[in-house]
């Protein structure tokens, strides 16, 4: 059975300060799968993720050519098109960074923040969504009695799970993960792997990882980048 393509990139070229980081990258990513992006350091893996939610636009002296299309509500949208607002895109495409980046706010406010930005969500619903997401990342039991304490006081693993909870609160259709377990211990990394396997039922996941054992455990397909070019693509059974 043909898989539905969720993300399609065409001739994607990206340069920073005049230096090419991605060259003619054309790839398709299937809906409801975990795709691992692997490759040596500096091969453009993290940059590739930034092109999928247009976050590179916050970095000065960057240029991008090519096209990225994503399938939302049954049809493909050019995410760089003028009629597609960047804030809407980023609410549909969640991102978790390599280093946990909680905002200097309370635990509750960190997770609720995307909903507050979006607006129009009653406080009660917000509270239940926060609890749901914190339970999803198995953090609720650890923080339920100190939701209004600073998120910066959490351990590294807890902070990363908090960031995943925060990325999930808007129920994104695509989740971009840039080495989310690299700063975590074995147990915390395993917990996040289990979570990702659950999440792929509801969203498409792109995971940058250096750990090939992790990739073989959870990924449905693997894309390898080298010097900004697609070298190979493989699918696991």
């Amino acid at each position: 059975m043909d898989k539905t393509v969720k993300i399609r990139t065409e001739n994607l070229c990206f340069s920073y300060n005049g230096r090419a980081i991605l060259c003619n990258s054309s790839m398709d990513f299937a809906d409801g799968e975990i795709t691992a992006i692997v490759g040596p350091s500096g091969s453009g893996k993290s940059t590739f993720l930034l092109t999928l939610n247009r976050l590179w636009e916050a970095i000065p002296r960057c240029t991008l050519q090519g096209a990225v299309e994503m399938r939302f509500n049954g049809r493909y949208h050019d995410i760089y098109g003028r009629d597609y607002p960047v804030t809407r895109l980023r609410r549909q495409v969640g991102m978790v960074f390599q280093v946990p980046n909680p905002l200097p706010m309370s635990i509750y406010k960190n997770v609720a923040f995307p909903l507050q930005l979006k607006g129009g969500v009653p406080k009660e619903n917000m509270r239940s969504r926060v609890e749901e997401c914190l339970r999803q990342v198995r953090l609720w039991d650890e923080v339920q009695d100190r939701l209004h304490a600073s998120a910066l006081d959490l351990s590294g693993g807890q902070q990363q799970r908090l960031c995943i909870a925060r990325a999930l609160i808007l129920r994104p259709e695509v989740l971009l993960l840039d080495e989310p377990t690299s700063a975590l211990d074995h147990a915390a990394a395993k917990a996040i792997e289990r979570l990702l396997l659950e999440l792929k039922r509801s969203c498409t996941i792109l995971l940058v990882s250096h750990y090939l054992d992790q990739v073989s455990r959870i990924a449905d397909s693997v894309v390898e980048l080298h010097n900004g070019r697609l070298v190979s693509k493989a699918e696991y059974d």
């Binding site: 939610n53 976050l55 916050a58 970095i59 804030t87 809407r88 980023r90 609410r91 969640g94 991102m95 960074f97 280093v99 980046n101 905002l103 200097p104 706010m105 309370s106 509750y108 406010k109 609720a112 923040f113 995307p114 930005l117 979006k118 209004h148 600073s150 925060r166 990325a167 808007l170």
Partner: protein, 292 residues
């Protein structure tokens, strides 16, 4: 190499101690000479304090009108300067292109270096222009002084706001954007609250400058004896001018001591305003970042 490092450490420590010593010497000197004059009578003269505070009776031989004038002046100048300065700083840090930023940075640096007497002269010229062009009721007054002072301190607030925002790491800048924040939401809800400590430093500098500057107000509305300012268009008294006036014109040691007393009161007012600025910063940070 180790000896050089030790020398640098000792020299730095010595400089710190000298600086602290200088500040303590100035404060100590003021207290030694002004302590005897401190008391309610220095501020309210022969007028009962409550009557003076409720504006029931005038204070003729006390510093109350100068204290009221200074507080009004600083509050007004900060009211003009903070929104404008912060807005300009945000524009420079977040929106301005490289060329415009370079030009405006140069402009604000030049502005920061303007001698206050020049700004005072400009304020005076504006007052004269308004008087001739629009109404004879407009003359050097509290409003003109506060605007001239705001112009004087604007670059401090602008540049510290800009520096504080530009000093935030890229990761802090990208977090809220990745969560679907618009650029404005990112600035208002994340970047400014995180930069408040730097911004407040600029505001504190500005408060200090507004409270102490004499050259600007001498040309734009301050007088030696006029009572509590009744409106924005009235003359007013101010502590720095009183200190200048009394130290130049004193006829006996009691008057000179009252000048030192006025300087102590000015220092205390600055301290209270600084603490107020810190408290407001803490409150805003808490509301922006922690309140659910």
């Amino acid at each position: 190499m180790r000896v050089l490092e030790q020398a640098v450490v000792h020299f730095s420590r010595l400089c710190g101690i000298i600086l602290l010593g200088a500040v303590l010497t100035v404060i100590g000197y003021l207290f030694v000479h002004g302590w005897s004059s401190l008391g309610l009578s220095l501020i309210f003269g022969a007028t009962p304090p409550l009557d003076a505070l409720l504006m029931k009776r005038h204070v003729f031989n006390g510093l109350f009108p100068a204290v009221a004038g200074t507080l009004s002046l600083v509050a007004l100048a900060i009211c003009w300067a903070v929104p404008m300065g912060m807005a300009a700083g945000i524009y420079l840090a977040e929106y301005a292109g490289p060329k415009i930023k370079a030009i405006l940075n140069l402009f604000f640096d030049i502005m920061a270096g303007l001698p206050s007497i020049v700004v005072g002269l400009f304020g005076f010229a504006v007052a004269v222009f308004l008087n001739r062009r629009f109404s004879g009721a407009i003359h050097p007054c509290l409003l003109i002084s506060s605007m001239a002072l705001a112009f004087l301190v604007l670059p401090y607030i602008t540049r510290t706001t800009q520096m504080a925002l530009e000093g935030l790491p890229l990761s802090a800048r990208m977090t809220a954007l990745s969560l679907g924040a618009s650029r404005l939401q990112n600035i208002v809800r994340v970047l400014v609250p995180q930069s408040l400590s730097g911004i407040v430093s600029g505001i504190i500098l500005a408060i200090g400058r507004c409270a102490e500057d004499t050259a600007v107000i001498m040309l734009t509305g301050v007088v030696a004896s006029t009572g509590v300012p009744r409106s924005l268009l009235s003359h007013y008294e101010a502590l720095p001018f009183y200190i200048y006036y009394i130290s130049a014109q004193y006829t006996n040691s009691e008057e000179l001591a009252s000048g030192y007393g006025a300087a102590i009161i000015l220092l205390c007012i600055c301290l209270v305003l600084f603490l107020l600025a810190f408290a407001i910063r803490k409150r805003i940070s808490y509301h922006a970042l922690y309140r659910a």
